[in-house]
Protein backbone atom coordinates (compact mmCIF):
# COMPACT_ATOMS: atom_id res chain seq x y z
CA UNK A 1 0.00 0.00 0.00
CA UNK A 2 1.09 3.57 -0.55
CA UNK A 3 2.68 5.35 2.33
CA UNK A 4 2.27 9.05 2.80
CA UNK A 5 5.49 10.50 1.57
CA UNK A 6 5.50 13.48 3.83
CA UNK A 7 3.12 13.68 6.75
CA UNK A 8 3.22 17.47 6.84
CA UNK A 9 1.71 17.70 3.35
CA UNK A 10 -1.98 17.44 2.65
CA UNK A 11 -3.04 14.93 0.01
CA UNK A 12 -5.05 16.54 -2.81
CA UNK A 13 -5.67 13.51 -4.97
CA UNK A 14 -5.60 9.90 -3.86
CA UNK A 15 -5.89 7.22 -6.49
CA UNK A 16 -6.66 3.74 -5.17
CA UNK A 17 -6.59 0.49 -7.13
CA UNK A 18 -7.48 2.25 -10.37
CA UNK A 19 -8.17 -0.14 -13.23
CA UNK A 20 -8.91 0.71 -16.82
CA UNK A 21 -9.64 -2.34 -18.93
CA UNK A 22 -10.83 -1.68 -22.47
CA UNK A 23 -12.98 -4.45 -23.93
CA UNK A 24 -11.96 -6.03 -27.25
CA UNK A 25 -15.01 -6.90 -29.32
CA UNK A 26 -14.88 -9.83 -31.66
CA UNK A 27 -17.01 -12.22 -33.68
CA UNK A 28 -20.14 -11.44 -35.64
CA UNK A 29 -22.19 -10.57 -32.57
CA UNK A 30 -19.57 -8.19 -31.22
CA UNK A 31 -19.07 -10.05 -27.95
CA UNK A 32 -16.32 -8.98 -25.62
CA UNK A 33 -13.59 -11.50 -26.25
CA UNK A 34 -10.82 -10.00 -24.15
CA UNK A 35 -9.59 -6.86 -22.44
CA UNK A 36 -6.68 -4.50 -22.91
CA UNK A 37 -5.47 -3.98 -19.36
CA UNK A 38 -4.23 -0.45 -19.95
CA UNK A 39 -4.13 0.49 -16.30
CA UNK A 40 -4.10 -2.35 -13.79
CA UNK A 41 -4.42 -1.67 -10.09
CA UNK A 42 -2.63 1.64 -9.80
CA UNK A 43 -2.51 3.56 -6.51
CA UNK A 44 -0.76 6.81 -5.71
CA UNK A 45 -1.21 10.13 -3.96
CA UNK A 46 -0.58 13.69 -5.08
CA UNK A 47 0.00 16.31 -2.42
CA UNK A 48 -1.11 19.91 -2.57
CA UNK A 49 1.24 22.17 -4.45
CA UNK A 50 3.56 19.48 -5.79
CA UNK A 51 4.30 18.14 -9.23
CA UNK A 52 4.07 14.40 -9.62
CA UNK A 53 5.29 13.05 -12.94
CA UNK A 54 4.32 9.79 -14.53
CA UNK A 55 6.94 8.38 -16.88
CA UNK A 56 7.11 5.26 -18.96
CA UNK A 57 7.29 4.20 -22.56
CA UNK A 58 4.42 4.45 -25.04
CA UNK A 59 1.46 2.29 -24.12
CA UNK A 60 2.35 1.87 -20.45
CA UNK A 61 -0.89 3.53 -19.35
CA UNK A 62 0.33 7.01 -18.37
CA UNK A 63 -2.20 8.99 -20.40
CA UNK A 64 -4.95 6.47 -19.71
CA UNK A 65 -4.38 7.00 -15.98
CA UNK A 66 -4.75 10.76 -16.46
CA UNK A 67 -7.95 10.40 -18.46
CA UNK A 68 -9.40 7.86 -16.05
CA UNK A 69 -8.86 10.25 -13.12
CA UNK A 70 -10.81 12.94 -15.00
CA UNK A 71 -13.39 10.38 -16.14
CA UNK A 72 -12.80 11.38 -19.74
CA UNK A 73 -12.85 7.62 -20.18
CA UNK A 74 -14.85 5.85 -17.50
CA UNK A 75 -12.47 3.65 -15.48
CA UNK A 76 -13.31 0.00 -14.89
CA UNK A 77 -12.87 0.09 -11.11
CA UNK A 78 -11.03 1.75 -8.27
CA UNK A 79 -11.51 5.06 -6.55
CA UNK A 80 -10.16 8.56 -7.02
CA UNK A 81 -10.46 10.80 -3.99
CA UNK A 82 -10.14 14.50 -4.65
CA UNK A 83 -10.09 16.47 -1.41
CA UNK A 84 -11.66 13.43 0.23
CA UNK A 85 -14.53 13.04 -2.26
CA UNK A 86 -14.66 10.03 -4.55
CA UNK A 87 -14.88 11.31 -8.12
CA UNK A 88 -15.79 7.91 -9.52
CA UNK A 89 -18.83 7.63 -7.27
CA UNK A 90 -20.23 10.99 -8.44
CA UNK A 91 -23.16 11.42 -10.80
CA UNK A 92 -22.44 12.98 -14.19
CA UNK A 93 -23.79 16.39 -13.14
CA UNK A 94 -21.86 16.37 -9.86
CA UNK A 95 -18.76 15.48 -11.83
CA UNK A 96 -19.40 18.35 -14.27
CA UNK A 97 -19.24 20.90 -11.50
CA UNK A 98 -16.15 19.20 -10.03
CA UNK A 99 -14.35 19.67 -13.34
CA UNK A 100 -13.71 23.26 -12.38
CA UNK A 101 -11.05 22.02 -9.95
CA UNK A 102 -9.42 19.46 -12.21
CA UNK A 103 -8.17 20.65 -15.56
CA UNK A 104 -6.15 19.09 -18.32
CA UNK A 105 -3.65 20.25 -20.93
CA UNK A 106 -3.27 17.90 -23.86
CA UNK A 107 -0.26 16.94 -25.89
CA UNK A 108 -1.19 18.22 -29.30
CA UNK A 109 -1.95 21.93 -29.31
CA UNK A 110 -3.16 21.57 -32.89
CA UNK A 111 -5.85 19.08 -31.93
CA UNK A 112 -6.89 20.24 -28.50
CA UNK A 113 -8.39 23.60 -29.49
CA UNK A 114 -11.67 23.72 -31.38
CA UNK A 115 -10.77 25.19 -34.79
CA UNK A 116 -14.16 26.93 -35.05
CA UNK A 117 -13.78 28.95 -31.88
CA UNK A 118 -11.82 32.14 -31.33
CA UNK A 119 -9.60 32.49 -28.28
CA UNK A 120 -12.27 34.61 -26.62
CA UNK A 121 -14.85 31.86 -27.21
CA UNK A 122 -12.56 29.06 -26.04
CA UNK A 123 -11.74 30.82 -22.79
CA UNK A 124 -15.13 32.48 -22.40
CA UNK A 125 -16.97 29.19 -22.64
CA UNK A 126 -14.93 27.83 -19.77
CA UNK A 127 -15.73 30.90 -17.67
CA UNK A 128 -19.40 30.79 -18.59
CA UNK A 129 -20.03 27.12 -17.96
CA UNK A 130 -18.61 27.13 -14.47
CA UNK A 131 -19.94 30.65 -13.82
CA UNK A 132 -16.64 31.86 -12.47
CA UNK A 133 -16.82 35.45 -13.70
CA UNK A 134 -20.01 37.46 -14.41
CA UNK A 135 -20.66 37.93 -18.12
CA UNK A 136 -19.81 41.62 -18.29
CA UNK A 137 -16.35 41.05 -16.81
CA UNK A 138 -15.43 38.01 -18.87
CA UNK A 139 -13.57 39.81 -21.61
CA UNK A 140 -11.36 41.58 -19.09
CA UNK A 141 -10.69 38.31 -17.36
CA UNK A 142 -9.78 36.65 -20.67
CA UNK A 143 -7.30 39.43 -21.43
CA UNK A 144 -5.85 38.97 -17.97
CA UNK A 145 -5.52 35.22 -18.54
CA UNK A 146 -3.81 35.81 -21.86
CA UNK A 147 -1.29 38.12 -20.24
CA UNK A 148 -0.54 35.41 -17.65
CA UNK A 149 0.56 33.10 -20.44
CA UNK A 150 2.37 35.79 -22.40
CA UNK A 151 -0.15 36.48 -25.15
CA UNK A 152 -1.25 39.95 -26.24
CA UNK A 153 -4.77 41.35 -25.65
CA UNK A 154 -5.19 42.06 -29.37
CA UNK A 155 -4.94 38.34 -30.09
CA UNK A 156 -8.20 37.66 -28.26
CA UNK A 157 -10.40 37.38 -31.36
CA UNK A 158 -8.06 35.24 -33.39
CA UNK A 159 -8.60 31.61 -34.22
CA UNK A 160 -6.29 28.74 -33.22
CA UNK A 161 -4.86 28.31 -36.72
CA UNK A 162 -3.46 31.82 -36.56
CA UNK A 163 -1.09 30.85 -33.76
CA UNK A 164 2.16 28.87 -33.62
CA UNK A 165 2.40 25.59 -31.73
CA UNK A 166 3.89 27.19 -28.65
CA UNK A 167 1.29 29.94 -28.63
CA UNK A 168 -1.50 27.42 -28.97
CA UNK A 169 -0.19 25.47 -26.03
CA UNK A 170 -0.26 28.73 -24.08
CA UNK A 171 -3.91 29.14 -25.05
CA UNK A 172 -4.46 25.59 -23.77
CA UNK A 173 -2.80 26.56 -20.51
CA UNK A 174 -4.84 29.77 -20.27
CA UNK A 175 -7.98 27.74 -20.84
CA UNK A 176 -7.06 25.38 -18.04
CA UNK A 177 -6.21 28.33 -15.78
CA UNK A 178 -9.52 30.05 -16.56
CA UNK A 179 -11.30 27.59 -14.30
CA UNK A 180 -9.03 28.45 -11.37
CA UNK A 181 -8.33 24.75 -10.92
CA UNK A 182 -6.50 23.12 -8.04
CA UNK A 183 -5.06 20.28 -10.10
CA UNK A 184 -3.89 20.39 -13.70
CA UNK A 185 -3.11 17.16 -15.50
CA UNK A 186 -0.49 17.92 -18.13
CA UNK A 187 -0.78 15.04 -20.59
CA UNK A 188 2.48 15.21 -22.56
CA UNK A 189 1.92 18.96 -22.50
CA UNK A 190 5.24 19.86 -24.10
CA UNK A 191 6.05 16.75 -26.18
CA UNK A 192 4.72 18.23 -29.41
CA UNK A 193 6.74 21.42 -29.12
CA UNK A 194 10.23 22.35 -30.28
CA UNK A 195 12.90 22.03 -27.62
CA UNK A 196 13.34 25.79 -27.25
CA UNK A 197 9.59 26.30 -26.93
CA UNK A 198 9.41 23.36 -24.50
CA UNK A 199 11.66 25.19 -22.07
CA UNK A 200 9.54 28.35 -22.32
CA UNK A 201 6.32 26.48 -21.67
CA UNK A 202 7.85 24.47 -18.81
CA UNK A 203 9.08 27.64 -17.14
CA UNK A 204 5.67 29.19 -17.65
CA UNK A 205 4.05 26.18 -15.98
CA UNK A 206 6.49 26.45 -13.09
CA UNK A 207 5.89 30.14 -12.50
CA UNK A 208 2.12 29.72 -12.77
CA UNK A 209 2.34 26.94 -10.21
CA UNK A 210 3.99 29.29 -7.76
CA UNK A 211 1.60 32.14 -8.49
CA UNK A 212 -1.64 30.17 -8.32
CA UNK A 213 -0.57 27.38 -5.94
CA UNK A 214 -1.30 24.75 -8.52
CA UNK A 215 -0.76 21.02 -8.25
CA UNK A 216 0.41 19.21 -11.38
CA UNK A 217 0.14 15.64 -12.52
CA UNK A 218 2.70 15.71 -15.28
CA UNK A 219 2.57 12.88 -17.79
CA UNK A 220 5.64 12.56 -19.99
CA UNK A 221 7.98 10.14 -21.64
CA UNK A 222 10.80 12.68 -21.67
CA UNK A 223 13.02 12.14 -18.65
CA UNK A 224 14.83 15.44 -19.16
CA UNK A 225 11.57 17.34 -18.94
CA UNK A 226 10.47 15.28 -15.95
CA UNK A 227 13.70 16.01 -14.14
CA UNK A 228 13.19 19.72 -14.73
CA UNK A 229 9.66 20.05 -13.48
CA UNK A 230 8.89 17.29 -10.95
CA UNK A 231 8.94 17.00 -7.20
CA UNK A 232 8.19 13.31 -7.31
CA UNK A 233 8.27 10.79 -10.12
CA UNK A 234 6.24 7.66 -10.73
CA UNK A 235 7.46 5.07 -13.24
CA UNK A 236 4.90 2.89 -14.99
CA UNK A 237 5.38 -0.27 -17.00
CA UNK A 238 2.56 -2.10 -18.80
CA UNK A 239 -0.21 -0.62 -16.69
CA UNK A 240 1.52 -1.02 -13.32
CA UNK A 241 3.47 1.30 -11.05
CA UNK A 242 6.99 -0.07 -10.73
CA UNK A 243 8.60 2.72 -8.74
CA UNK A 244 7.61 5.99 -7.13
CA UNK A 245 9.97 8.36 -5.36
CA UNK A 246 11.02 11.94 -4.88
CA UNK A 247 12.93 13.21 -7.86
CA UNK A 248 16.37 13.24 -6.30
CA UNK A 249 16.09 9.76 -4.89
CA UNK A 250 14.77 8.34 -8.15
CA UNK A 251 17.35 9.91 -10.40
CA UNK A 252 20.26 9.32 -7.99
CA UNK A 253 19.47 5.80 -6.92
CA UNK A 254 16.88 4.13 -9.09
CA UNK A 255 15.94 0.76 -7.55
CA UNK A 256 13.83 -1.01 -10.14
CA UNK A 257 15.73 -2.59 -13.05
CA UNK A 258 13.28 -0.95 -15.46
CA UNK A 259 13.88 2.50 -14.00
CA UNK A 260 17.61 1.88 -14.18
CA UNK A 261 17.32 0.97 -17.84
CA UNK A 262 15.20 4.05 -18.55
CA UNK A 263 17.61 6.40 -16.81
CA UNK A 264 20.61 4.90 -18.55
CA UNK A 265 19.03 5.99 -21.82
CA UNK A 266 19.30 9.70 -20.95
CA UNK A 267 22.14 11.16 -22.99
CA UNK A 268 24.83 12.80 -20.87
CA UNK A 269 26.22 16.02 -22.34
CA UNK A 270 29.79 15.11 -21.41
CA UNK A 271 31.98 13.09 -23.77
CA UNK A 272 34.54 12.24 -21.10
CA UNK A 273 31.91 10.40 -19.07
CA UNK A 274 31.62 6.85 -20.23
CA UNK A 275 28.02 5.88 -20.13
CA UNK A 276 26.85 2.41 -19.45
CA UNK A 277 23.63 1.95 -21.31
CA UNK A 278 21.35 -0.88 -20.25
CA UNK A 279 19.75 -2.21 -23.39
CA UNK A 280 16.41 -3.94 -22.85
CA UNK A 281 15.82 -6.97 -25.03
CA UNK A 282 12.57 -7.66 -26.82
CA UNK A 283 9.42 -5.61 -27.09
CA UNK A 284 6.93 -4.54 -24.49
CA UNK A 285 4.56 -7.52 -24.10
CA UNK A 286 0.93 -7.06 -25.09
CA UNK A 287 -1.31 -5.54 -22.41
CA UNK A 288 -4.01 -7.98 -23.53
CA UNK A 289 -2.19 -10.94 -22.00
CA UNK A 290 0.43 -9.38 -19.76
CA UNK A 291 3.09 -11.72 -18.30
CA UNK A 292 2.31 -13.50 -15.05
CA UNK A 293 4.14 -12.43 -11.92
CA UNK A 294 6.21 -9.30 -12.37
CA UNK A 295 5.22 -7.81 -15.72
CA UNK A 296 8.77 -6.83 -16.42
CA UNK A 297 10.27 -10.29 -15.96
CA UNK A 298 10.30 -11.09 -19.69
CA UNK A 299 12.78 -8.28 -20.31
CA UNK A 300 14.46 -7.97 -16.94
CA UNK A 301 18.19 -8.80 -16.99
CA UNK A 302 18.02 -9.83 -13.33
CA UNK A 303 14.81 -11.89 -13.31
CA UNK A 304 14.66 -14.98 -11.10
CA UNK A 305 12.09 -17.80 -10.81
CA UNK A 306 10.00 -15.95 -8.25
CA UNK A 307 9.48 -13.02 -10.65
CA UNK A 308 7.60 -15.29 -13.06
CA UNK A 309 4.92 -16.29 -10.58
CA UNK A 310 4.57 -13.70 -7.86
CA UNK A 311 3.39 -10.13 -8.45
CA UNK A 312 5.70 -7.81 -6.51
CA UNK A 313 3.98 -5.26 -4.25
CA UNK A 314 5.09 -1.67 -3.85
CA UNK A 315 7.32 -1.58 -0.76
CA UNK A 316 9.22 1.18 0.97
CA UNK A 317 12.89 1.64 0.27
CA UNK A 318 12.64 4.63 2.55
CA UNK A 319 9.82 6.97 3.48
CA UNK A 320 9.75 8.77 0.13
CA UNK A 321 10.72 5.91 -2.15
CA UNK A 322 8.68 2.85 -3.03
CA UNK A 323 9.49 0.14 -5.50
CA UNK A 324 7.76 -3.00 -6.77
CA UNK A 325 10.56 -5.52 -7.22
CA UNK A 326 11.36 -8.82 -5.53
CA UNK A 327 15.08 -8.14 -5.81
CA UNK A 328 15.08 -4.91 -3.88
CA UNK A 329 15.47 -5.72 -0.22
Amino acid sequence: MMMTADQTKKPLLEVQNLKQHFPIKGGILGRTVNHVKAVDDVSFTIFEGETLSIVGESGCGKSTTGRAILRLDEPTSGSVFFEGKDLLAMSKSQMRSMRKDLQVIFQDPFASLNPRQSVAQILGEALAIQNIVPANQRRERIIELLSHVGLRPDQIDRFPHEFSGGQRQRIGIARALAMQPKLIICDEAVSALDVSIQAQVLNLLKSLQKEFKLTYLFISHDLGVVRHISDRVMVMYLGKVVEIADKKSLFDSPQHPYTQALLSAIPVPDVSKKQERIILRGDVPSPINPPQGCRFHTRCPLAVERCKTEVPALTNVHSTHQVACHLVP
Binding site: L72, M95, V104, A111, E125, I129
Partner: protein, 306 residues
Protein backbone atom coordinates in the same frame (compact mmCIF):
# COMPACT_ATOMS: atom_id res chain seq x y z
CA UNK B 1 -16.40 38.01 -49.71
CA UNK B 2 -18.13 40.34 -52.16
CA UNK B 3 -15.19 40.19 -54.56
CA UNK B 4 -15.23 36.43 -54.26
CA UNK B 5 -18.91 36.17 -55.14
CA UNK B 6 -18.54 38.49 -58.12
CA UNK B 7 -15.60 36.47 -59.36
CA UNK B 8 -17.55 33.26 -58.98
CA UNK B 9 -20.46 34.75 -60.90
CA UNK B 10 -18.12 35.68 -63.76
CA UNK B 11 -16.67 32.17 -63.74
CA UNK B 12 -20.16 30.82 -64.26
CA UNK B 13 -20.33 32.26 -67.78
CA UNK B 14 -17.98 29.74 -69.44
CA UNK B 15 -19.61 26.94 -67.46
CA UNK B 16 -23.04 27.89 -68.75
CA UNK B 17 -21.76 28.32 -72.32
CA UNK B 18 -20.39 24.80 -72.04
CA UNK B 19 -23.73 23.53 -70.78
CA UNK B 20 -25.54 25.12 -73.73
CA UNK B 21 -23.04 23.59 -76.13
CA UNK B 22 -23.40 20.09 -74.69
CA UNK B 23 -27.19 20.19 -74.67
CA UNK B 24 -27.21 21.64 -78.16
CA UNK B 25 -24.93 18.94 -79.53
CA UNK B 26 -26.81 16.11 -77.84
CA UNK B 27 -30.07 17.31 -79.31
CA UNK B 28 -28.41 17.52 -82.72
CA UNK B 29 -27.33 13.92 -82.44
CA UNK B 30 -30.66 12.56 -81.30
CA UNK B 31 -32.43 10.92 -84.24
CA UNK B 32 -35.66 12.49 -85.39
CA UNK B 33 -36.41 15.77 -87.09
CA UNK B 34 -38.45 18.42 -85.24
CA UNK B 35 -39.70 19.79 -88.53
CA UNK B 36 -41.15 16.39 -89.45
CA UNK B 37 -42.80 16.06 -86.07
CA UNK B 38 -44.27 19.55 -86.27
CA UNK B 39 -45.58 19.15 -89.79
CA UNK B 40 -47.46 16.06 -88.75
CA UNK B 41 -47.95 12.77 -90.52
CA UNK B 42 -48.27 12.82 -94.28
CA UNK B 43 -47.01 16.38 -94.68
CA UNK B 44 -45.44 17.22 -97.98
CA UNK B 45 -41.70 17.70 -98.37
CA UNK B 46 -42.30 21.35 -99.18
CA UNK B 47 -44.15 22.00 -95.92
CA UNK B 48 -41.34 20.36 -93.99
CA UNK B 49 -38.73 22.39 -95.85
CA UNK B 50 -40.70 25.55 -95.15
CA UNK B 51 -40.90 24.83 -91.44
CA UNK B 52 -37.22 24.06 -91.44
CA UNK B 53 -36.38 27.41 -92.99
CA UNK B 54 -38.70 29.20 -90.57
CA UNK B 55 -36.96 27.67 -87.58
CA UNK B 56 -33.51 28.19 -89.04
CA UNK B 57 -32.90 24.43 -88.98
CA UNK B 58 -31.48 24.55 -92.51
CA UNK B 59 -28.56 26.64 -91.39
CA UNK B 60 -25.22 25.15 -90.32
CA UNK B 61 -25.04 23.82 -86.75
CA UNK B 62 -22.49 26.45 -85.70
CA UNK B 63 -24.74 29.25 -86.90
CA UNK B 64 -27.72 27.78 -85.05
CA UNK B 65 -25.61 27.58 -81.90
CA UNK B 66 -24.41 31.15 -82.29
CA UNK B 67 -27.96 32.44 -82.72
CA UNK B 68 -29.11 30.55 -79.70
CA UNK B 69 -26.34 31.88 -77.47
CA UNK B 70 -26.89 35.49 -78.53
CA UNK B 71 -30.61 35.11 -77.87
CA UNK B 72 -29.96 33.68 -74.42
CA UNK B 73 -27.76 36.69 -73.65
CA UNK B 74 -30.74 38.93 -74.22
CA UNK B 75 -32.97 36.74 -72.06
CA UNK B 76 -34.73 35.10 -74.97
CA UNK B 77 -34.79 31.33 -74.69
CA UNK B 78 -36.73 30.94 -77.91
CA UNK B 79 -40.22 29.77 -78.63
CA UNK B 80 -41.61 26.35 -77.93
CA UNK B 81 -42.11 24.43 -81.15
CA UNK B 82 -45.14 22.74 -79.69
CA UNK B 83 -47.09 25.51 -77.96
CA UNK B 84 -45.62 28.53 -79.69
CA UNK B 85 -45.23 30.19 -76.30
CA UNK B 86 -41.92 31.73 -75.18
CA UNK B 87 -39.78 29.01 -73.57
CA UNK B 88 -38.99 31.31 -70.68
CA UNK B 89 -42.68 31.65 -69.78
CA UNK B 90 -43.24 27.90 -70.12
CA UNK B 91 -40.37 27.21 -67.73
CA UNK B 92 -41.42 29.88 -65.24
CA UNK B 93 -44.89 28.37 -65.11
CA UNK B 94 -43.45 24.97 -64.19
CA UNK B 95 -40.49 26.01 -62.04
CA UNK B 96 -42.27 26.83 -58.73
CA UNK B 97 -43.55 23.27 -58.30
CA UNK B 98 -40.10 21.84 -58.95
CA UNK B 99 -38.41 24.27 -56.60
CA UNK B 100 -40.95 23.51 -53.89
CA UNK B 101 -40.39 19.81 -54.40
CA UNK B 102 -36.62 20.23 -54.35
CA UNK B 103 -36.68 22.29 -51.15
CA UNK B 104 -39.05 19.87 -49.43
CA UNK B 105 -36.82 16.96 -50.50
CA UNK B 106 -33.61 18.61 -49.40
CA UNK B 107 -35.34 19.27 -46.08
CA UNK B 108 -36.09 15.56 -45.77
CA UNK B 109 -32.51 14.77 -46.78
CA UNK B 110 -30.90 17.14 -44.30
CA UNK B 111 -33.16 16.67 -41.29
CA UNK B 112 -33.68 12.93 -41.58
CA UNK B 113 -30.08 12.28 -42.61
CA UNK B 114 -28.42 14.39 -39.97
CA UNK B 115 -30.63 13.31 -37.08
CA UNK B 116 -30.11 9.65 -37.99
CA UNK B 117 -26.36 10.21 -38.42
CA UNK B 118 -25.99 11.97 -35.08
CA UNK B 119 -27.90 9.23 -33.26
CA UNK B 120 -25.75 6.64 -34.98
CA UNK B 121 -22.50 8.38 -34.08
CA UNK B 122 -23.32 9.16 -30.48
CA UNK B 123 -24.52 5.60 -29.89
CA UNK B 124 -21.96 3.79 -31.99
CA UNK B 125 -22.47 0.01 -32.27
CA UNK B 126 -25.79 0.18 -30.43
CA UNK B 127 -28.94 -1.45 -31.79
CA UNK B 128 -30.10 2.00 -32.94
CA UNK B 129 -26.86 2.56 -34.84
CA UNK B 130 -27.03 -0.82 -36.59
CA UNK B 131 -30.71 -0.34 -37.48
CA UNK B 132 -30.10 3.14 -38.89
CA UNK B 133 -27.19 1.93 -40.98
CA UNK B 134 -29.19 -0.98 -42.43
CA UNK B 135 -32.12 1.33 -43.23
CA UNK B 136 -29.67 3.79 -44.80
CA UNK B 137 -28.27 1.04 -46.99
CA UNK B 138 -31.80 0.19 -48.13
CA UNK B 139 -32.50 3.89 -48.67
CA UNK B 140 -29.62 4.28 -51.11
CA UNK B 141 -30.47 1.05 -52.92
CA UNK B 142 -34.20 1.55 -53.53
CA UNK B 143 -35.04 3.06 -56.91
CA UNK B 144 -37.13 6.20 -56.44
CA UNK B 145 -39.91 5.17 -58.83
CA UNK B 146 -40.41 1.94 -56.86
CA UNK B 147 -40.35 3.79 -53.54
CA UNK B 148 -42.79 6.38 -54.92
CA UNK B 149 -45.24 3.76 -56.17
CA UNK B 150 -45.02 1.84 -52.87
CA UNK B 151 -45.70 4.97 -50.87
CA UNK B 152 -48.67 5.79 -53.09
CA UNK B 153 -50.01 2.27 -52.66
CA UNK B 154 -49.83 2.27 -48.85
CA UNK B 155 -50.39 5.87 -47.85
CA UNK B 156 -52.65 7.12 -50.64
CA UNK B 157 -54.58 4.10 -51.86
CA UNK B 158 -54.83 1.98 -48.70
CA UNK B 159 -54.62 4.45 -45.83
CA UNK B 160 -55.80 7.44 -47.87
CA UNK B 161 -53.67 9.85 -45.84
CA UNK B 162 -52.25 11.70 -48.79
CA UNK B 163 -53.47 12.48 -52.32
CA UNK B 164 -52.35 10.08 -55.03
CA UNK B 165 -51.03 12.72 -57.39
CA UNK B 166 -50.95 16.39 -58.22
CA UNK B 167 -49.56 19.45 -56.55
CA UNK B 168 -50.86 22.32 -54.44
CA UNK B 169 -51.16 21.71 -50.70
CA UNK B 170 -48.58 20.47 -48.22
CA UNK B 171 -50.29 17.11 -48.30
CA UNK B 172 -49.32 16.80 -51.94
CA UNK B 173 -45.70 17.42 -51.01
CA UNK B 174 -45.18 14.75 -48.36
CA UNK B 175 -44.88 11.59 -50.45
CA UNK B 176 -42.89 13.08 -53.36
CA UNK B 177 -40.50 14.78 -50.91
CA UNK B 178 -39.92 11.51 -49.05
CA UNK B 179 -39.49 9.65 -52.34
CA UNK B 180 -36.95 12.12 -53.64
CA UNK B 181 -35.22 12.85 -50.32
CA UNK B 182 -34.69 9.30 -49.04
CA UNK B 183 -31.61 8.37 -51.04
CA UNK B 184 -29.98 11.65 -50.09
CA UNK B 185 -30.95 11.22 -46.45
CA UNK B 186 -29.30 7.81 -46.44
CA UNK B 187 -26.06 9.23 -47.85
CA UNK B 188 -26.14 12.20 -45.48
CA UNK B 189 -26.75 9.86 -42.53
CA UNK B 190 -23.69 7.79 -43.38
CA UNK B 191 -21.60 10.90 -43.97
CA UNK B 192 -22.74 12.53 -40.73
CA UNK B 193 -21.97 9.38 -38.79
CA UNK B 194 -18.43 8.96 -40.09
CA UNK B 195 -17.65 12.65 -39.91
CA UNK B 196 -18.96 12.90 -36.34
CA UNK B 197 -17.06 9.79 -35.26
CA UNK B 198 -13.94 11.37 -36.66
CA UNK B 199 -14.48 14.57 -34.74
CA UNK B 200 -15.49 13.11 -31.37
CA UNK B 201 -12.12 11.39 -31.14
CA UNK B 202 -10.33 14.74 -31.32
CA UNK B 203 -8.68 16.20 -28.25
CA UNK B 204 -10.74 19.37 -28.37
CA UNK B 205 -13.82 17.28 -27.66
CA UNK B 206 -12.02 15.92 -24.62
CA UNK B 207 -11.13 19.51 -23.77
CA UNK B 208 -14.79 20.47 -24.00
CA UNK B 209 -15.70 17.55 -21.76
CA UNK B 210 -12.96 18.56 -19.31
CA UNK B 211 -14.49 22.04 -19.16
CA UNK B 212 -17.59 20.40 -17.75
CA UNK B 213 -19.89 21.11 -20.70
CA UNK B 214 -23.11 19.18 -21.05
CA UNK B 215 -23.07 16.29 -23.48
CA UNK B 216 -25.65 17.98 -25.75
CA UNK B 217 -23.53 21.13 -25.98
CA UNK B 218 -20.49 19.03 -26.81
CA UNK B 219 -22.34 17.13 -29.53
CA UNK B 220 -24.12 20.05 -31.18
CA UNK B 221 -21.82 22.98 -30.62
CA UNK B 222 -18.37 21.43 -30.70
CA UNK B 223 -18.65 18.16 -32.60
CA UNK B 224 -21.39 18.86 -35.15
CA UNK B 225 -20.05 22.26 -36.16
CA UNK B 226 -16.70 20.70 -36.96
CA UNK B 227 -18.27 17.72 -38.68
CA UNK B 228 -20.42 19.89 -40.96
CA UNK B 229 -17.96 20.58 -43.80
CA UNK B 230 -18.14 17.16 -45.49
CA UNK B 231 -21.88 17.05 -44.79
CA UNK B 232 -22.42 20.38 -46.58
CA UNK B 233 -20.44 19.07 -49.55
CA UNK B 234 -22.64 16.00 -49.79
CA UNK B 235 -25.85 17.99 -49.38
CA UNK B 236 -24.73 20.37 -52.14
CA UNK B 237 -24.06 17.48 -54.48
CA UNK B 238 -27.33 15.85 -53.51
CA UNK B 239 -29.10 18.94 -54.76
CA UNK B 240 -27.79 18.18 -58.21
CA UNK B 241 -29.08 14.62 -58.08
CA UNK B 242 -32.33 15.99 -56.78
CA UNK B 243 -32.83 18.17 -59.85
CA UNK B 244 -32.29 15.10 -61.97
CA UNK B 245 -34.51 13.03 -59.71
CA UNK B 246 -37.45 15.40 -60.08
CA UNK B 247 -37.90 14.10 -63.61
CA UNK B 248 -38.84 10.63 -62.35
CA UNK B 249 -40.73 11.70 -59.26
CA UNK B 250 -42.75 14.30 -61.14
CA UNK B 251 -43.77 11.60 -63.57
CA UNK B 252 -44.75 9.16 -60.82
CA UNK B 253 -46.79 11.74 -58.90
CA UNK B 254 -48.05 13.60 -61.99
CA UNK B 255 -46.62 16.93 -60.90
CA UNK B 256 -46.45 19.63 -63.55
CA UNK B 257 -42.87 20.61 -62.91
CA UNK B 258 -39.76 21.45 -64.85
CA UNK B 259 -38.64 17.81 -64.97
CA UNK B 260 -41.80 16.68 -66.68
CA UNK B 261 -41.66 19.64 -69.02
CA UNK B 262 -38.19 18.61 -70.15
CA UNK B 263 -39.17 14.94 -70.58
CA UNK B 264 -42.20 15.85 -72.64
CA UNK B 265 -40.13 18.27 -74.70
CA UNK B 266 -37.53 15.58 -75.40
CA UNK B 267 -40.27 13.26 -76.59
CA UNK B 268 -41.60 15.95 -78.92
CA UNK B 269 -38.12 17.08 -80.09
CA UNK B 270 -39.08 20.51 -78.75
CA UNK B 271 -35.48 21.63 -78.92
CA UNK B 272 -35.78 25.17 -77.45
CA UNK B 273 -37.67 23.92 -74.40
CA UNK B 274 -35.13 21.17 -73.71
CA UNK B 275 -32.25 23.58 -74.02
CA UNK B 276 -33.94 26.23 -71.91
CA UNK B 277 -34.98 23.73 -69.24
CA UNK B 278 -31.55 22.20 -68.91
CA UNK B 279 -30.00 25.66 -68.92
CA UNK B 280 -32.23 26.86 -66.08
CA UNK B 281 -31.58 23.66 -64.11
CA UNK B 282 -27.84 24.19 -64.60
CA UNK B 283 -28.05 27.80 -63.47
CA UNK B 284 -29.81 26.66 -60.29
CA UNK B 285 -27.19 23.97 -59.69
CA UNK B 286 -24.31 26.37 -60.21
CA UNK B 287 -25.89 28.83 -57.77
CA UNK B 288 -26.38 26.10 -55.18
CA UNK B 289 -22.70 25.26 -55.54
CA UNK B 290 -21.80 28.87 -54.89
CA UNK B 291 -24.03 28.82 -51.82
CA UNK B 292 -22.23 25.69 -50.60
CA UNK B 293 -18.86 27.40 -50.96
CA UNK B 294 -20.07 30.44 -49.07
CA UNK B 295 -21.37 28.16 -46.31
CA UNK B 296 -17.93 26.51 -46.16
CA UNK B 297 -16.47 29.87 -45.42
CA UNK B 298 -19.01 30.43 -42.70
CA UNK B 299 -18.39 27.10 -41.00
CA UNK B 300 -14.68 26.94 -41.50
CA UNK B 301 -12.82 30.10 -40.75
CA UNK B 302 -9.68 28.49 -42.15
CA UNK B 303 -10.97 28.32 -45.71
CA UNK B 304 -9.98 31.63 -47.20
CA UNK B 305 -12.11 32.11 -50.27
CA UNK B 306 -9.97 34.88 -51.68
Amino acid sequence: MFVYIVRRLLQMIPVLLGVILVVFLIMQMVPGDPAVLLAGEGASAETIAKIRTQLGLDQPVMVQYFHYVTDVMTGDLGTSLRSNLPVFDEIMARLPATIELAIASIFVTVVLGMVAGIISATKQYSAADITIMIVALLGVSLPSFWLGLSLIYYFSVKLQWFPVAGWGTWKHMVLPAITLGTAGAAIVARMTRSSMLDVVRQDYIRTARAKGLREQVIVYKHALKNALIPIITVVGLQFGFLLGGTVLVESVFAINGLGRLIVDAIRMRDLPVVQGGVLIASVIFVFVNLLVDVLYRYFNKRIDLN
